[in-house]
Amino acid sequence: MTTKKKSFPMQRKSKRKIVLFVALLVLLSAFVGYRMWNKPHRDVKDAIAMKVNAAELYKILSEKNSPDKSAFNNQVLVVSGTVKQVLQNHQKQQVILLKTNIEEGAVNCTMEENFENVKTGDSVSIKGICIGYNAGDFDLPGDVFLIRCYHGD
């Protein structure tokens, strides 16, 4: 009799502990899931970045068998060069083309923040994520593309 009376509250206590543990686990998973789902984009502005010259970057990424591509693709880079042209894309973002050694090829930078007073012929540094070289298979030299760009100084 005495044993029965003692074991009943013990069982309830351990049950409560399990429920509490499961609830905590669910809450923690929900919190982690929420944080992961809403994690911010890569901080390009304050990222530590490799510095490279526009012509050099273009040469490395446009050559088919260049072994160094992975060091630049999907990385935040600071690219220095001479402004070839300043454009605006469909979403009214500023696009700055940096000269390379190829006449119709450029380092094509889509700006997240406008580069004030920039004009053709200026020497500039632009910081952004390098997504790679693209030319398709057209009879037209491709560009190296940098996205989410800022003033590189």
């Binding site: 994690k39 890569r42 454009l87 469909h90 973002q93 450029a106 693209n134 398709g136 491709g142 560009d143």
Partner: protein
Amino acid sequence: MAIKMKIMNIRNAVLVLFIFSVKPTFLAAQVYFTKNGSVSFFSKTILENITATNNETISVLNIQTGEMQFSLLNNGFHFPKAKMEEDFNEDYMESARFPRSTFKGIISGINKIDFANDGTWPVTVIGDLQVHGITKQISVPGKIVIKNGKINATATFSVLLKDYSIKIPSIVSNKVSEKIDISVNCLYQKK
């Protein structure tokens, strides 16, 4: 007689040289391009609407032959959430394995379009869309607008993820639509 033949040969050689020097310029004038065209996609479900845009799309348009080509780097799509972008590149598009999506097609009835004057022309483009390493022929209704000598091409169409072997994990299947709406907007400049 021999002198006459020599003159004839020289004349022919000059003519051939002239034709070859003029031809590339003539062809180049028919080709328009952009390297900052825009391609967006939209997935709509009851739980979530997802939209992403790539503003670094290369496109070439030959107004004489009607040939139209597009190429974009998949990792250039920008999503509102970083996790969506990560899942898109790593799990769905496998961007490291299939870095590009391309389209090569022909605008039917290109000769009817008057590129010299302002106007809006509904068109149909038929061609091969390559996504996730799979190529399918599609027919896309679009519009060509000519304004102040500039050519703008737009199109909206839908694709099914299963046609391109893009698998969505069951845990998020109610958040990503099986049918994706794609819109294209390119403003061309002369090559």
